[in-house]
Amino acid sequence: MFKNYPNNDELIDVTDIFKNLGKNLKEPTIIKASYFDLFEGTRSLEVENARLDSTLIHLTEIEKNFNCNAIIGDENDLEVQLDNIISISDRLLRNVISWLNNYQTLPTTILSCTYVEHILLASEKSHKIEPLSTGNELYDKTLSGLCIGICYFGKFVLHLMKSGVLMEEEDLNFNFMGLDFLTFQESSKEVLELLEESLTYLDTLENGKKQYLKDFIRITICLVHIEETCTTYSTDLKFLNELAELGEKYNSIEVLTSDVPEGSFSMGIQKRMSNQYPPRKLVNVTNNYSGYKDMAMDIKRVLLIHEEKSALEMLQFSYYFGNLQQRHVLARGIFSLFFMRDNLTILGKYKMPDFVIMQLNEFSLTGCTSSIENLTPEQKLFLEPVLEEATKVLLEFYQNFTQNNCRIRQGYNRQLLLWDSLQAQFENAETLLEQNGVINVVSNEPVVTYFPYSLWAYFQKVTLMIDFVLKGFDLEIYQPYETFAMYYFVYYLTYKREYALRSVQQFIEKKIHSIQAMNKKIKKLKTVEKKEALKVQYKKLMETVMPSLQRNKQYLNFLTLRNTITKSLSLCQFVQFGVLKSYGIIDNHSSSISEFIDHELIHKLRFKSFSSIGVPELPTYEIFESTLKEFTLSEPNLDSKVSNTIGFVNKECTKTIESLDSILQAIKAGDNNGTMLTGSRLIKEDALKHYEQLKYSCQDIQKNIVTLTKKINVISERPLSEHFKVILKFSDNGSSFFPLLSLEDKTKID
């Protein structure tokens, strides 16, 4: 079971010591190491327990005696040998996808191949790559090359795991069974040479089936090259394109050959090697070659970020890449390392502090007196420590988009506090700057000043709050009765965000006007020197600051429209809830009767993440309750009031669809319409999909509210809650952030 099992003379008999110590133990005593907690316990093994003891795995005689250096079947029959190697290679390549795309474990996929285990053990022993030595080149070159190439690719995956980008077990299983995954192999050179040699050999064969193996070797070569995205930060798409093509080609081929030779894949490694996991059966993998295409396409998508032209494009890319759907595990890992590099730069182009300023300039800092380049060394001292903190927070913000879907929401939760604290720190620094005469004036009467740094942190925080709540719908966290509170809160937050956007807009407008006014001022000046000096200043501002301000203005137009869309959709959702509440079908509390239910406490627990946030303040429980009352309709003329509400929802959705169409047009036109900047050039397809989904949601809501009232009107007996149950329905084309409040007939459900 253990590789370095000690010799007999190194072993000591501890039976008596153990028994003597055990005698004094009382019944409830547990012996454990201090670090051994419940989590460790749930992962612990148990001797003689069939579900937890891998030494109890039963192996056939063929599995036990399988010799990797022997040829299977008639060695002179090329057809037989080709079939053997094709079937083993095919299964191994399908296992790679099963491991990466379907989250199976390493020992039940790649390491279940007896040849892989053999080669890794032999290579580790001699500290160099050890191919098979059967005397048959199909085994020694082709199968060996394939196994070694996959192991080398495994080494790269291990590197991703070790760099902390992916979560062990959750995102990927790398139970390497104590084997060394070619860590001594410093570069891919030797592995690629081996694979090329194999191709050369295959070319000499006169049998049509060799093409399968040539393609399998090509797939392996592509896998080996993937590490270059993180070693040399290569953006060459050649191998990814080829991988996608081959994945597609083999996806349409149902069965390649007969079954794999017995013993070539086995649970044996789980029994033989150092295994810290319970036994797991091998998975019967069907054709999954399309998984290579999925993987290649997602990695290709990651590399596109290299073509960014602004901080805005990086931001939008990350948002659409991570927040809307879970990407391939390797793509997520590569994105993190490709974007935030070992040399502490972003994409190898920007130093971290510059990156923060770039983000700030895209939003609120352009043209400000408090821009870092306008400050004296003493004034900079107020800001620099906070900017350092901002760098850390911003990197965590970007890193979060590479997490799995569930972790992204947890990341938002954690970041709320970070951005909240950052906002407070910026406010202190900007107050100090103001006291030192660094003032960004929005208006003189009354005096309104502008804090671009804290405003940015505030905007980011409120956006995270909204995203956190909406992601809960996507992950199906909420019960239907919670819908009112969640969407009302989002609606409330969009108001707060709107205010922040308006503040930035006001400042930008003022700045643009003040630059434009300089032209008139020049004409009024009497001395030539003064005229010339102002002309120079005007020209400089027109060339440098004005384009950025115009850009900011267009970006703010987009953000404002996006905010309005979220606001309207949330409003429509909780207005629908109000209609259902009006008929007594749903309430904003659990309808269950239990001695443990305390509605207010449950509400407070749901909003726990926001309870410590001072600005924007969390509305009280009473406000949530009274707001719902305002949206609950009652007799007399209930049906007429409902009809008006339907009209209102319809109108709101129609307006929202128009806004969505504007955004869709801007994205399609590549932001060239001059009014809106979406920054989605590099991730156009995903951005379009997101707004199309929102558009479907609007249309679905319009249909839904009519359906709801029709269903209600059919039933004359009351209470309606006995007839219907509200469910959250996810439509195929709509957005998962806005599921529909649908009615289900209770008799059908129960």
Partner: protein, 176 residues
């Protein structure tokens, strides 16, 4: 059939074996004897069993709930439901609900601020049972179980402390 709800007798090996068999047969997650001992020996008063008094003593345990109660991040007392199982043949009689109620009451008496548990996303019956008792889904956990399924973490709040991040209850680390 006459059912009897009672606390576990920690010295009763038969009860221990029956609990283990019951859980092993029903839950997807395989647990070592250590896990059972961790719960049972540390919190013997927080394991309840249901006995069908008409059956032989060696096979009369038909349901159980296994819990613990610990201080979470030094700030709030958290009860935890580790396992809940009812023999297939006895389901649909409210036994699980009774077991949960008994355990919650006990943990409430022990000054717990909240009760927490995890359950598979696909286990809609369990989710419904807990939600009907006031539990709230707080998080979704990606591929939480060995069978690769996602889980929900649910919490039942018992005091105001449950509704405040532990960071603001005196703990320095960030509660996620």
């Amino acid at each position: 059939m006459v059912l009897k709800y009672q606390s576990l007798d920690i010295g009763n090996q038969s009860q221990f074996k029956q609990i283990k068999t019951l859980v092993d047969n029903d839950l997807s997650e395989p647990y070592s004897v250590w896990v059972y001992r961790f719960f049972l020996n540390n919190w013997p008063g927080l394991t309840y069993i249901v006995i069908d008094t008409e059956l032989e003593e060696e096979k009369n345990v038909i349901g159980c709930i296994i819990c613990k109660n610990e201080l979470h991040r030094n700030t709030r007392r958290r009860g935890y439901i580790g396992m809940l199982v009812v023999n297939n043949e006895y389901r649909g009689q409210g036994i699980a609900k009774n077991l949960v109620k008994t355990a919650i009451n006990k943990m409430k008496n022990e000054q717990c601020d909240e009760i927490m548990l995890e359950t598979e996303v696909s286990n809609t019956i369990a989710i419904k049972l807990y939600e009907n008792m006031g539990f709230l889904k707080m998080k979704r956990l990606f591929r939480y179980y060995l069978n690769e399924g996602d889980a929900y973490r649910l919490i039942l709040p018992l005091t105001e402390k449950s509704c405040i991040r532990s960071t603001f209850l005196g703990d320095a680390s960030i509660d996620i």
